[in-house]
Each structure stands twice: as C-alpha cells, then as structure tokens.
C-alpha cells in the first residue's frame, strides 16, 4: 500500500503544481491573495515530501514487489545504503529533485516579501510550471512506485562504488544547488513577465543564487574528494562529463552571483543578469540531461534509457527555449542600468563574467562535442583532460588576475594609479613567491610554479580589502567575499603542490618487504582476509615511518568483493598529515605470490578541498549577512575604499 500511497501523493502534488501555475500566471493581471498561493505551494510541497518519504520507506524495508527497489537495492545492504539507494538511481533521484524543488517553491511563496505582488505571482507560476514538467516526467516516463508482479525473490543490489557515505550525501547537496538555480530562473521569468527587472528583484534573487552556489561548491568539492579516495586512482579531477555536468552550472552560478551584486547595489547589468539566470538554470538542466539520459558513458551516469533522455531534452528545450523567447521579446522593455567606467568594480565584475562565460563555453563545447560529432557523423570520440587543460587553464589564470584586482577597486570609477598602488603589496608577494619557488624547487615545471606563485599573490590580494578596516564592523558579506577568494587561492596552491611535488611508487611486494615513497619508508606487513556486512575483502597491513623514525602510521588498503551485484572495488587507505597525504592502494596478486602496491605522497593535497570548504563558508557568511535585516545602509553602497 505504501507504493500506491506514494503514487497518489505524487498525483496530488502534480495537480497542485498545475493549479499553482495557472493561478500564478493569472496573478500578473489580478494577483491572487498571497495566502492562497502560499497554501497551494505548501500542499504541493507536503504531498511531494510524503511521496519521497514513501519511497524511502520502501527502500528501507526492501519491498521487492516494487520494481525500482528490486532493481536497485538488496536486503543485505547496510541501512544507510538501503536508504541512500533511494536516490542512487534514476527515478529516485528525479523524485528527490522535484521534492527539493517543491519545498523551495513553497519557501518562496510563503516567505518572499521583497518582490512586487505581480512579480511574485509570476515567479511562483514559473516555479509551478517547472515542477509540473518534472511531475509529468515522473508519472508518465519514470514512475518510481511501479509494481513488479510477481515480486522479485531478491534485489539486484546497489552499485558498490556508490556504497560510500560520501556518495550517499553528495547528490542531494548538488540537487539543492541545481534547484536553487531553478528558483533564480523563476525569479528572472517572473521579473521579465511583470516588467520588473531592477535592484529589488536582484536583492530578492541574490540569497537563492548564493545558497545554490554554496551547495554546488560543496557538492563539487565532496564529489572531487569522493573520486579521489574511492576510485583509487590518486587524482582529484578528471574532466569526466559527469563532473563537467556539475561544474558548468557552478561556473554560470558564479558569474550570476557577481552580476546580481552589480544589479542589486549599483543597478547595472540588468539584461545580462536576467540572461545569466536563464543560462545557469539551463546548465543545471543540461547537467541533469547529460547524467540522467544515459547518453554518457561515465563513471557515475547510472541511468541508461535514451527515451527518458529524450523527455528530459524536451523539457530542457521547453523551459530554456521558452525563457529565451521571453527574454528576446521582453528585453527591449528593460531599461538600461546605471553607468560605469571600464576601470571600476563593475568593470572588473564584467571581466569576471566574460571570463567565466568563456570558461563555461569551452567546457560546454568539450562536453557536448563528442555527442554532436556522434549524432552528425556517427563517429565515436572522446575529449579528455588535454583539451580541457589547454583551454580552461589560460582562462582560469586570467580569472585569478581579475579576482585579485576586482575587490580592490571602487564602484563606478577607479583611478588607474590608485589601483596600481593597491596592487603593489600583492605584486611584491607574487614576485617573492616566484623567486622563492626557484630557490626551493629549481626543477619545478611551469604550471605548478605559476600556480603556487599566483596563489600567493591572490591570497594577499584577497585579504587586502580587510586592511585598515575595523574588523568587528566589517559586514559579513565582505568577510564572505574575502574568504571565498582566499579559498580559491588555497585550492590553487593545493592543486599546484599536488601536481608539482607528488611522489609515486608502484611495486610488487611480499610481506616483510619495505618500499619507499617521498620521505616515507613503508613496510608491507601482511595480507589478511576480512569480511564486511555485504562484502569480503583482502586487506593489506602497511606501516609507514617518515625518514625511518618516529611512530609508524598504520594503513590498511583493501580489495573488496561484493556479491550483489558481483563486483570488486579497491578501497584505498589514506593517512592525512599536516603537510599532505600518504595514499596507498592494494592491487592484484601477481601469479608468483607478490602483491601489487601503489603508494603516493601528495604534499598539501588536502588544500584543494580545504579551499573548496572555505569558498562554501564564504558563501554561508555572505548569505547570513544578506539575510539579516540592515540597520544602516550597506557600506558598499557608500563607495568603499579598501586601503586607507
């Protein structure tokens, strides 16, 4: 009965989404009472939550009479993965998507007070229309509650690679980000329909963009760390299309975050901001399409059904095409915003936006090109890291430069000479870092050297806006900006250090032998069989000492064998030290009885994810700063002089 109840709840939610769409758009002429719209969206959210709860319950109980549960789970799984399995598949993840969408739609309808009534009504209507498309998709193309008759005797199991706490929580994080962008999109559609593109609209949209961007940042950071430790390959970014699917909305959201600030505080970049809101949501739809359509053959693209991909593509074309048509017909009615000089904070933010757009462009081309080539000519090809490094690398370096200089500029106009004076200290640090790198590591190759040097300059430039300020009275969103930019410097330093200084040893060893990697001596002690809840494994015991002295670090990499589905995974063992990570993988048993062992010493690799966390923390601080009611005018509107 639970499955039927879930399905009924889904139908109720869908009908209320339809009602919300009609009443919302009708509200452009005569706004319905806000309470009515709020109530409708609340019922929709509660019904969707009920449907999702039903699915969780079915998975927790492993109800094998439900097709999805039988295909994607097994009763032998630990409870965490039985529950996480609910969204570790196509249908369940789409239901989670629409649940988050319905809940945030209700949050907009109930709590948004800054928008004009007609704009708010149209925004809620747009939100209902997006939800309606996804409800239709779930009900007609991928019903998560479909029964299996007769019930399966046993479940097929859950992809062992996804059986990891990191991956249990990583998709919901990304979805919150995607859905946050859908809210920004609805705001843009609402503002276009109500002819209300201006600072008030931007200030209402900004917290959603900030929130979405923060969650995307966290999701990408977590996904990168998951790939790093779970896949046992020692890398942290592969330019896999599924990774790109989350990177592209992030790039668009980063651009939107900066342009919405210009619109909110200086009333500039009106049309551009609306356009970016459309693009950002399009990118999260493209991401959903790429990951969910089965068009990709990727590490975690686990839905393989071209028909569903077609439906998502239709939805994508409908929403994005509709929004672009609306944009094209309405944009002439949007008044041009305030003026500024090229050398100014606005100018730097425009440069940031153009660079981010270009970066988005090359990632999008690289991701879609193989698909387009196959569709047009039938040729199968792949675009890999060399392409992305060659295109994204130079753009990212330019972006670092604007990121360093932008926050040191005043709004509206800046004297070139004054700016140069403020850039003296970061410039000196950059030069010193370059010299120090030649002294400390003369053999370093060019990119890591450049990365480390720029990271040092950017770090100093990032904290420069705090200089001469009373720190207690510095607004939280300024702290947020400083931390986020500092986080970029920290990540960049980690990436450069990892690629410049990593040491690797690959060997076949017998118990008792000692291997060496970087400053470590690693003794290979034993290989033992172990058993887990739904797997068996061979586990190696390693003892690592640094410079041959001190207490030994114990590491135990494993080779796990799962039964349902039959699959082997290797579980790396990682020792985290203050200055890096020792990363160990157990390989195969060689016919002569030795075991393959792979060891990496990765100095300061943790900075990559620490930087990501710092960026997200910056987003949270800015969000809190924006959410708090203001008692005095925001200092940034008074024109802000960073170095005094």
């Amino acid at each position: 009965m639970i499955a039927e109840a879930g399905l009924i709840a889904l139908w109720i939610a869908a009908s209320f989404a339809a009602l919300q769409t009609v009443l919302g758009f009708a509200g452009l002429r005569a706004p319905a009472p806000p309470r009515l719209l709020g109530g409708i969206s609340l019922i929709q959210a509660v019904a969707t939550l009920a449907a999702f709860a039903a699915l969780l319950l079915l998975f927790a109980r492993t109800d094998l009479s439900v097709r999805l549960v039988a295909a994607e789970s097994a009763s032998t799984l630990p409870l965490l993965y039985r529950v996480a399995g609910a969204w570790g598949n196509h249908e369940g993840s789409m239901l989670l998507w629409v649940t988050i969408l319905a809940v945030s739609g209700a949050a907009v309808a109930l709590f948004e007070r800054r928008l004009a009534a007609a704009t708010l009504a149209a925004t809620i209507g747009a939100q209902g229309l997006i939800a309606l498309g996804f409800f239709g998709f779930l009900l007609f193309a991928s019903n998560p509650f479909a029964r299996l008759d007769p019930a399966a005797p046993a479940g097929l199991g859950f992809n062992p690679l996804l059986q990891d706490p990191g991956l249990a929580f990583h998709p919901p994080t990304l979805y919150v980000g995607y859905v946050g962008l859908s809210v920004a999109f609805s705001f843009a559609v609402g503002a276009l329909l109500a002819r209300d593109v201006g600072p008030a609209f931007a200030r209402a949209m900004r917290p959603w963009v900030l929130g979405a961007w923060t969650f995307l940042t966290l999701g990408i950071t977590a996904g990168s760390y998951w790939a790093y430790y779970e896949l046992g390959w020692g890398g942290w970014w592969f330019w896999d299309p599924t990774e790109n699917a989350s990177l592209m909305p992030w790039l668009a959201a980063t651009a939107l975050l900066h342009s919405v600030t210009v619109l909110a505080t200086r009333d500039g970049l009106r049309a551009w901001t609306v356009m970016l809101a459309v693009v950002a949501f399009s990118m999260s739809m493209v991401g959903t399409f790429l990951v969910r359509s089965g068009i990709l053959t990727s590490v975690h693209a686990f839905a393989l059904d071209p028909r569903r991909g077609g439906v998502i593509l239709l939805l994508l074309a409908f929403y994005v095409g509709g929004a672009l048509a609306l944009f094209a017909t309405r944009i002439a009615t949007v008044q041009a915003g305030a003026q500024f000089r090229p050398v100014s904070r606005e100018g730097a933010l425009v440069a940031n936006n153009l660079l981010l757009s270009a970066l988005l462009g090359v990632v999008l081309i690289g991701t879609l090109y193989p698909l387009a080539a196959e569709a047009l000519t039938g040729e199968k090809l792949s675009v890999g890291p060399p392409y992305f490094n060659a295109t994204a690398g130079p753009l990212a370096l330019l972006l670092v430069a604007t990121m360093a200089a932008g926050p040191l500029m005043r709004w509206r106009r800046e004297e070139a000479r004054a700016l140069a004076r403020r850039l003296v200290v970061p410039g000196l640090v950059l030069a010193a870092a370059l010299l120090a790198s030649f002294w400390a590591a003369p053999d370093l190759s060019i990119l890591p050297r450049l990365g480390l040097t720029l990271a040092a300059g950017l770090a100093v430039a990032s904290v420069a806006p705090l200089a001469g300020r009373r720190l207690r009275r510095t607004p939280l969103f300024t702290w947020g900006m400083v931390l986020a930019h500092l986080g970029c410097a920290v990540s960049l330093a980690g990436m450069a250090s990892e690629s410049g200084f990593s040491a690797e040893t690959l060997a076949a060893a017998r118990p008792g032998e000692t291997l060496h990697v970087g400053p470590f001596a690693v003794r290979f002690d034993a290989v033992d069989p172990v058993a887990g809840p739904n797997w068996t494994a061979v586990r190696a015991t390693l003892a690592a000492t640094r410079g041959g002295a001190g207490a030994a670090l114990r590491l135990a990499p494993e080779q796990r064998t799962f039964d349902t589905p039959p699959r082997q995974t290797s579980e790396s063992a990682i020792a985290t030290l203050w200055d890096g990570q020792l990363y160990t993988v157990l390989g195969e048993r060689v016919p002569d009885g030795r075991w393959q062992v792979r060891l990496w010493w990765k100095p300061f690799v943790t900075l990559i994810w620490a930087g990501g966390a710092l960026i997200a923390l910056g987003g949270v601080l800015a969000l809190i700063g924006r959410a708090r009611p203001r008692r005095r005018p925001a200092p940034e509107r008074e024109g802000f002089a960073p170095w005094r």
Partner: protein, 143 residues
C-alpha cells in the same frame, strides 16, 4: 558613453568572449582531443608513434601476461578484426578483466605495439561499452 552605447559595448564584449572561447576550443579540439581508435583503425591509419591517443576494444581472453617485476602487465586489445599488444605498468581498474571493454590511453611504440599510461574500464555493472560492441571506431576526421 551613453547608456545605450555602453550596453552595446557589453554585448560586443560578450560576443567577443564567446567567439574567443569557441576559437580556443576548436583549435584545442584539433590538437589535443584524443580520439578512440579501434585496433583496426589504428593499424589501417598508421597512427604516428609517440602521439597520445586512446585505444578502445575488448581485452582478449587468455592474453594477459605479467612481467617479472610484478607491476607491468601485457594484454591484447581486440575489436574482432585486429589486435594490438598493450603494455601497462600499474594497478588495473576494478572492472578490468579478460573479455571486458577497455580504453587504454597512451601511445604506439611501433605498429601493433601500444604503451598505456592510463587504463580505463567502465564503472557500471550494466554497462556494455557501445564502441567495442559495435566493433567499429571511427577515428579523427577533423585534422
């Protein structure tokens, strides 16, 4: 500058940025994209030794050998019509096994001899690589 002119300038700058991105992407695609070659394609087209390419196919059952040092392996990649001998030093991915689909990234050292830097095997139990299944890879036609 008038408001209208500034908006025009911004639009032009945006177009220039996207155009530049496209040009950058196209030139990099021509130089850097590594394409799948099937063994048949690779042997027919005489891939230049030393150029980084990807070789896709199926690991020929019974062809796996281990070198004396314990870390280097050799195997043959086949597409049903032709075969290439691949050497690789390292730990193979979890899904790597005889008869399974594989993509090896690396370079030819001589015709029919491939040295892999990276081995990719697909990470989904329901996945059948469409390329080897179809038995044909087309190679690069851009350059």
């Amino acid at each position: 500058m008038k408001a209208k002119n500034q908006r025009l300038a911004l639009a032009l700058a945006a177009l220039a940025a996207l155009g530049g991105a496209t040009l950058l992407a196209m030139s990099a695609l021509r130089d850097q994209a590594s394409y799948f070659y099937s063994p048949s394609d690779a042997l027919r087209d005489h891939v230049v030794p030393g150029r980084v390419v990807r070789l896709g196919g199926v690991v020929k059952p019974g062809s796996l050998t281990h070198a004396a040092n314990g870390v280097e392996i050799g195997f043959r990649v086949t597409d049903g019509a032709a075969e290439v001998a691949v050497r690789y030093a390292g730990i193979v991915p979890d899904l790597f096994r005889p008869g399974s689909g594989v993509i090896a990234e690396g370079r030819f050292t001589a015709p029919g001899q491939f040295r892999a830097d990276t081995i990719l095997a697909k990470h989904d139990e329901r996945y059948r690589p469409p390329e080897p299944a179809r038995g044909m890879h087309k190679s690069d036609s851009l350059s």
